[in-house]
């Protein structure tokens, strides 16, 4: 797999910067994101965002504090927040809907998460671990949830009907009367040409390189799949 070279810094971060975790550079990366000006316009500190925030009800988390901390320019405090705090956000954007300043604290959190991941912060490895199955699917076929992922050992709290969904799956999927859905390992049949194009997008945008840096084991699996599919598509042309 070839590596990308030029990086347009305010559009996306450079995977070669994984490990660069100086607090000031993290804050600068957040503030130089193209979307930053769109998500922060000032803050009254009114707390309307936190008042309707679902995560505020169940976690030690407040979108008001996220916005205030970033606006304060206290880089160390921002860095500390990126380690765990911002990952409580449910990304529902209720805060954005309500803010009288048209801020989007949820949008700000998304920029911060992206910076945390692309700089390989410690918490990211822990946070992404349960995410491996989704990442493998999204990187290899562009689907994020597939029928074979609903297994009772992974979702025991979903109750006694879940085993039905995972047994005899191929026949039950065949009984869905839409051709593209009659598969088990992807949500719908994805043509090899489509995955081929997706791989080019991931390569050109540094996503494959990022995965190589932050999860080498997953990358190894993905790289094999990518190589096999590329060989298949290119030999059929």
């Amino acid at each position: 797999m070839s590596h990308d070279n030029d990086t347009v810094t305010h559009l996306r971060l450079d995977p070669d910067d994984v490990g660069q975790q100086d607090a000031q550079s993290l804050l600068e990366a957040i503030q130089s994101d193209l979307r930053y000006e769109e998500v922060i316009h000032g803050c009254l500190n009114c707390g309307v965002c936190s008042g309707s925030c679902p995560s505020h009800r169940f976690f030690d988390y407040s979108p008001r504090i996220v916005v205030q901390t970033v606006l304060s320019g206290d880089a160390e405090a921002v860095k500390a927040m990126m380690d765990e705090y911002i990952w409580a956000c449910a990304q529902c954007y209720t805060c954005a809907m309500r803010c009288p300043f048209h801020n989007s604290p949820g949008g700000l959190v998304m920029i911060m998460r992206e910076v945390a991941v692309w700089r390989g912060m410690e918490a990211v490895h822990r946070l992404l671990k349960p995410y491996g199955r989704v990442l493998l699917k999204v990187l290899s076929i562009g689907n994020q949830l597939t029928p074979d992922m609903i297994q009772p050992d992974f979702f025991p709290d979903w109750g006694p009907k879940i085993p039905w969904s995972s047994t005899d799956l191929a026949i039950k999927r065949k009984a869905i009367p839409v051709y593209t859905l009659q598969v088990t390992t992807s949500a719908w049949r994805v043509s090899p040409e489509t995955s081929y194009e997706l791989y080019s997008i991931y390569e050109e945008t540094g996503v494959f390189r990022l995965i190589e840096e932050i999860d080498p084991n997953l990358y190894e699996v993905v790289a094999d799949m990518v190589e096999d599919l590329r060989d298949m598509v290119e030999s059929s042309r």
């Binding site: 347009v8 305010h10 559009l11 996306r12 971060l13 994101d33 008042g51 309707s52 679902p54 009800r57 169940f58 449910a90 990304q91 529902c92 954007y93 209720t94 809907m97 309500r98 048209h102 992206e114 692309w118 990211v124 946070l127 992404l128 995410y131 989704v134 990442l135 999204v138 562009g142 949830l145 597939t146 609903i150 979903w158 109750g159 006694p160 009907k161 879940i162 039905w164 026949i171 009984a175 009367p177 839409v178 051709y179 593209t180 859905l181 949500a187 719908w188 043509s191 040409e193 489509t194 995955s195 194009e197 080019s200 997008i201 050109e204 945008t205 540094g206 996503v207 995965i211 932050i214």
Partner: protein, 409 residues
């Protein structure tokens, strides 16, 4: 019951105050430029190609939050499927296609589509703006070259694609970077005239859908969960109707239920999210469970006496449906059926509950609801089980739709 106006008790809640005096006031007084006008200017300058809605798409015009018009295409549509729906709630897309067949509408469902990849992005951050925009444009371009207009099934894809459309319109350097990548994969930068969600398509066709109803649903009390990424991401693009909640809340989903003759009960936490959380449903499950039970299911049942929760998006349907059983551990004995608006409409219009609506994949008990609707689900179940045996014996599956022979891309 909420039909034309909002319940008095809920009207006095803080949320309604904020909705009226903060959100709408601020949005209306400080209107952002209409991205579609800027898109037209870019097209006129030869900067981008636009996927236009044509007469062949048989558009119907509606009003959005700011009183702007939006044309919703109803025909010749390219299904931008949802991975969560196709993977976990298969009756969602099949119900859409079943209605399209019934109405004789033309569509294309094929294999040259990726998901928007935005669930993973919101949950893990392992992507970036250029990748998201490139994935969006690749799918749009695929629809463009087929001559069909993209219909977005998933709420997160809908919200994400509206964001990507707006950012692409606003930022030349993003357009240039995406154009460079599209060139590498043999495609062009194209942007649709409108980003259209299936619930909008269902909304504008609600009278035709309601005319197909064969089961009386007037005794069914529904509660609507509007999906966050449908109405809170790029809220100015959402359909509002003065006849639905006095124009104070989004109209899709509620309007189709009213058109079908069902009751739509108001409840005080209607605006809350479902608890999906993107990463929470996988890695912070106690949050998803607690929030969906405490803030949605409990309120829908105890306050609104709901017979069924009606959704308009992927993760919400899963979260609300799957997280009820575990509540028994804390004495919550709820068993509220959960399904999408289009599935409820299909049931009301006589679609087979097993073969078409695929209700058997839903976890919370739906049998009492179907009994109340007068649907003989036992016969459907028996026919389905017999059909599974036939498939095991090698019978070719029945199809609502088979893609045309696919040409290499």
């Amino acid at each position: 019951m909420a039909t034309n106006s909002i319940d008095r008790n809920i009207k006095t809640s803080g949320w309604e105050f904020v909705t009226k005096t903060v959100d709408k006031r601020a949005l209306i007084k400080n209107q952002k430029p209409d991205p579609r006008e800027e898109l037209a200017e870019l097209e006129a300058r030869g900067e981008v190609k636009v996927i236009h809605i044509t007469e062949e798409n048989q558009p119907i015009t509606v009003e959005t939050l700011l009183g702007r018009t939006k044309r919703i295409p109803t025909n010749k549509l390219w299904h931008h499927k949802s991975c969560g729906q196709c993977g976990n709630i298969p009756g969602y897309p099949t119900s859409i296609m079943w209605f399209m067949n019934k109405m004789g509408l033309e569509y294309l469902d094929e294999t040259h589509q990726t998901s928007c990849t935005a669930w993973n992005y919101h949950g893990s951050g392992t992507s970036n703006l250029v990748a998201l925009a490139s994935v969006a444009v690749r799918n749009w371009h695929r629809a463009y070259e087929t001559g069909y207009f993209p219909l977005i099934h998933c709420g997160t894809s809908f919200g994400n694609y509206k964001e990507m459309r707006n950012l692409l319109i606003e930022h030349k350097d993003l357009r240039d970077e995406v154009r460079r990548i599209m060139h590498k994969v043999g495609r062009e930068l194209v942007i649709p005239e409108e980003i259209v969600h299936y619930s909008e398509w269902l909304h504008v066709l609600r009278d035709r859908v309601a005319a197909m109803r064969i089961h009386d649903v007037s005794n069914i009390v529904t509660t609507v969960h509007p999906a966050c990424h449908v109405w809170k991401l790029i809220p100015e693009d959402v359909i509002y109707d003065p006849n639905i909640y006095g124009g104070e809340r989004p109209a899709p989903t509620t309007a189709i239920l009213l058109a079908l003759g069902a009751q739509v009960a108001d409840y005080s936490t209607w605006y809350d999210c479902c608890g999906f959380g993107f990463r929470h449903i996988l890695t912070e499950r106690e949050f998803s469970r607690s929030f969906s039970l405490e803030r949605k299911i409990k309120v829908m049942v105890e306050e609104a006496h709901s017979d069924v929760a009606i959704t308009q998006d992927t993760g919400c349907t899963t979260t609300l449906d799957k997280n009820q059983w575990i509540g028994k551990a804390h004495g919550y004995n709820y068993d509220l059926p959960v399904m999408a608006d289009v599935q409820f409409a299909a049931l009301a219009a006589g679609a087979d509950p097993y073969k078409v609506v695929q209700i058997q994949w839903h976890t919370s008990g739906w049998q009492k609801l179907l009994d109340k609707m007068g649907i003989d689900w036992q016969s459907s179940k028996a026919a389905y089980e017999a059909y599974l045996e036939e498939l095991r014996a090698g019978k070719e599956p029945e199809q609502l739709y088979i893609p045309p022979v696919e040409q290499p891309v």
